[in-house]
């Protein structure tokens, strides 16, 4: 668990560097500060379960076994990435890892994950689905419809509502008028729990309970993780709208520091043993970054990937070898 926390943090740090070097394509939505929420919850799943991230759950993907090298290739938009450069970031669906990729429009992934849960049930498999929903994303119509359908169908689903205080530059109290985000659950008639989202063990325990419940066929649980988005919405966002004291307070509750202290204080680990983990992660990431940087960009023609099975996307007529000779050929009446 500690390893995944550190790995997630480290990978996002590397990505920030790579963005500054112009290597990361597009933008970067990072989840630093929320690692305990996503690692702790993903850790509660078992093999064969499925997980769907929303937009900044790097740690959950790593915990589910996604190779950081794959993520690096995704962010650098390289040929060998899971989507071969056709999509970005965590937008990847990998059935062998039980990962369902979200799409840009928020909330939709929850509806789709319901279908995975339905499939489990139709097959008589006792497997569980877990997904994340931002405080902002929970306001979409899709999230509402999805959560409600799951509740009515008593699907084996655990929803982690990440109350990280912000949705881009909009405060969560401008997203919903609820006094406590746990109230959301009432509208769907599902059990709910609040957890300290910066306490990885607390998150794990509560998620585990919900996962077990789902596995027993008792339906959906909503868990509200109280945490904080420590970085801007994306790298371009200097989050000037965030009060410094708030950041300060939450910085003091850094989830990795907290867990490290806990491990040491409780005698489970020693400072040196944790340093070994950190160093191993550092090295692993350094190697992965190097590898990713040397990976080729996709061939332009990779854009011609079929949108339906077996489809041949034709080369545009203006780019065919024979375009000039073609003149008068294809269209002149004999």
């Amino acid at each position: 668990m500690f390893r995944f926390l550190v790995l997630s943090r480290g990978l996002e740090e590397r990505l920030e560097d790579l963005l500054k070097q112009g290597q990361v394509v597009g933008d970067l939505y990072d989840g630093r500060g929320q690692e305990a929420t996503v690692v702790g919850s993903a850790f509660a799943l078992e093999e064969g379960d499925w997980l769907a991230p929303s937009l900044r759950e790097m740690g959950a993907l790593l915990t589910r076994g996604l190779d950081p090298r794959m993520l690096l290739l995704q962010y650098l938009a390289r040929e060998g990435s899971p989507s071969a450069g056709r999509d970005k970031a965590h937008h990847l669906t990998m059935p062998h890892l039980g990962l369902l990729g979200p799409i840009g429009p928020l909330g939709a992934h929850l509806c789709v994950l319901n279908g995975v849960a339905l499939a489990f049930r139709m097959r008589g498999e006792r497997r569980v689905c877990l997904t994340y929903l931002g405080d902002g994303a929970s306001r979409t119509g899709a999230a509402h419809e999805g959560l409600n359908l799951a509740a009515v169908q008593r699907l084996p689903l655990v929803v982690i509502l990440i109350h990280n205080r912000w949705a881009f530059a909009t405060r969560s109290d401008q997203q919903a008028a609820v006094a406590d985000w746990i109230d959301v659950a009432a509208a769907y008639g599902v059990p709910a729990a609040s957890v300290d989202g910066n306490d990885v063990l607390h998150v794990y325990d509560e998620t585990r309970r919900a996962v077990d419940r789902a596995r027993r066929g008792e339906g959906v649980t909503l868990i509200v993780a109280e945490t904080y988005r420590m970085r801007g919405h994306a790298q371009h966002d200097a989050q000037e709208y965030v009060p410094e004291e708030e950041l300060h307070e939450w910085r003091a509750r850094d989830p990795i520091d907290l867990f490290e202290r806990y491990l040491i204080d409780s005698g489970f680990e020693s400072r040196p043993s944790l340093a070994v983990v950190k160093e191993a992660v550092r090295r692993e990431l350094a190697a992965a970054v190097e590898e990713a940087l040397s990976a080729p960009m996709p061939e332009p023609e990779g854009a011609r990937f079929g949108t339906v099975e077996g489809e041949e996307i034709p080369v545009p007529w203006t780019r065919r070898e024979a375009v000039y000779e073609d003149v008068h050929q294809p269209t002149l009446r004999p």
């Binding site: 669906t93 939709a108 789709v112 279908g115 489990f120 139709m122 419809e145 999805g146 359908l149 269209t331």
Partner: protein
């Protein structure tokens, strides 16, 4: 077009019907849809259905009456009023190897699921390599005095969206065969069933033969040499009627091409026909501006320009919502007389 015409046109339509060796059965367009689902569900345990009131009630048009008893609530799922969630769940189950059929109570209600279809279902194979073999079906079309929200033709909303297939059967045989093919298809298929045809179209369909109509192939509904009408859905019958009238009164023979599948489009059948006749009229029930005719016309321009002896023209509905009151709706919809007049105009050109 009166009802008896529609029926007689339909009955005489397909030479295949007469050929069937075993027995035949009179089958309505609606029954054909029902049978396609029933047969696929019977033979393939991964096929299931979800939608509003599809179970207990058997669907707003009673297409799935009896399905709940036969297949149980795990495979016939009555959902809340949540089209996005319905389509979403279908996508997820499709990823897992199931073949869901998502019913929209009226196809107009596909609009709240637009994001899910266009951004999730259509793009997922391209983005991730993982397909989503689902069918979204529902009653489309006007003529039933159902007003602006229960009469629409929605194909154009999706025409520019790669990753989707679109089907619009006109006959009972095609309704059945295309739905079976759509269910088996490895990708998302939008299946537009025309509510005006549900009970008005009756055909003798063979009992023993497994009817499957592959997606992507048009059907020459009526052969002709003087002008090609490209159309689909309920308009096939109006086109046919116009062709009969022109044949009788003017002695010219119109070819009627029923597209059946809109995406992927069977360009070669269209182009072959146009090259033979030199004139093409496109007829659809949706409004004119930005309608599906545009794509057809563009492709004909690109591939058969030199063969055109007259401008490509369109007969379509008005550029308005579908009005409610019968006289207004009749004015709004393209009528047989419009097709006759358009054809005459083109033949005289």
């Amino acid at each position: 077009m009166n009802d008896s015409t529609v029926e007689s046109v339909a009955q005489n339509r397909s030479p295949e019907d007469q050929e069937a060796e075993g027995g035949t059965k009179e089958t309505t367009y609606l029954e054909a849809i029902r049978e396609a689902m029933w047969e696929e569900m019977t033979t393939d345990p991964t096929v299931f259905l979800l939608g509003e009131d599809v179970g207990t009630y058997g669907g707003a048009f009673k297409i799935t009456e009896g399905f709940l008893d036969e297949f149980g609530p795990e495979r016939i799922i009555d959902t809340p009023i949540s089209e996005a969630a319905i389509v979403g769940a279908a996508i997820g189950a499709a990823h897992m190897g199931f073949k869901p059929i998502a019913e929209m109570q009226f196809i107009d209600f596909i609009a709240p699921a637009f994001d899910m279809i266009v951004n999730f279902a259509a793009k997922v194979r391209y983005r991730t390599g993982v397909g989503a073999p689902l069918v979204i079906r529902g009653p489309c079309g006007g003529g039933a005095h159902a007003g602006p929200f229960h009469s629409q033709n929605v194909e154009s909303y999706f025409a520019n969206v790669a990753g989707l297939k679109m089907v619009a059967p006109a006959t009972a045989r095609d309704a059945k065969g295309l739905l079976r093919a759509a269910i088996r298809d490895p990708d998302p298929v939008l299946y537009f069933e025309h509510k005006y045809l549900y009970r008005r179209i009756k055909e003798q369909l063979p009992i023993d033969e497994e009817i499957i109509v592959p997606l992507g192939s048009a059907r020459t509904h009526r052969p002709g040499s003087d002008l090609t009408i490209v159309t689909y859905g309920a308009m096939v019958y109006k086109a046919d009627e116009a062709a009969s009238r022109i044949s009788e009164e003017d002695g010219a023979e119109l070819e009627v091409v029923d597209l059946r599948t809109l995406r992927p489009l069977d360009t070669s059948t269209i182009v072959e026909s146009v090259k033979r006749t030199g004139r093409v009229l496109i007829v659809h029930e949706a409004p004119r501006f930005g309608g599906f005719a545009g794509e057809i016309a563009s492709q004909i321009c690109e591939e058969a320009f030199e063969w055109l002896d007259a401008p490509i023209r369109r007969v379509t509905a008005l550029d308005t919502p579908v009005p409610f009151s019968p006289p207004l709706e009749e004015y709004y919809l393209p009528q047989t007389a419009d097709i006759v007049d358009a054809a005459r105009w083109m033949l005289a050109y």
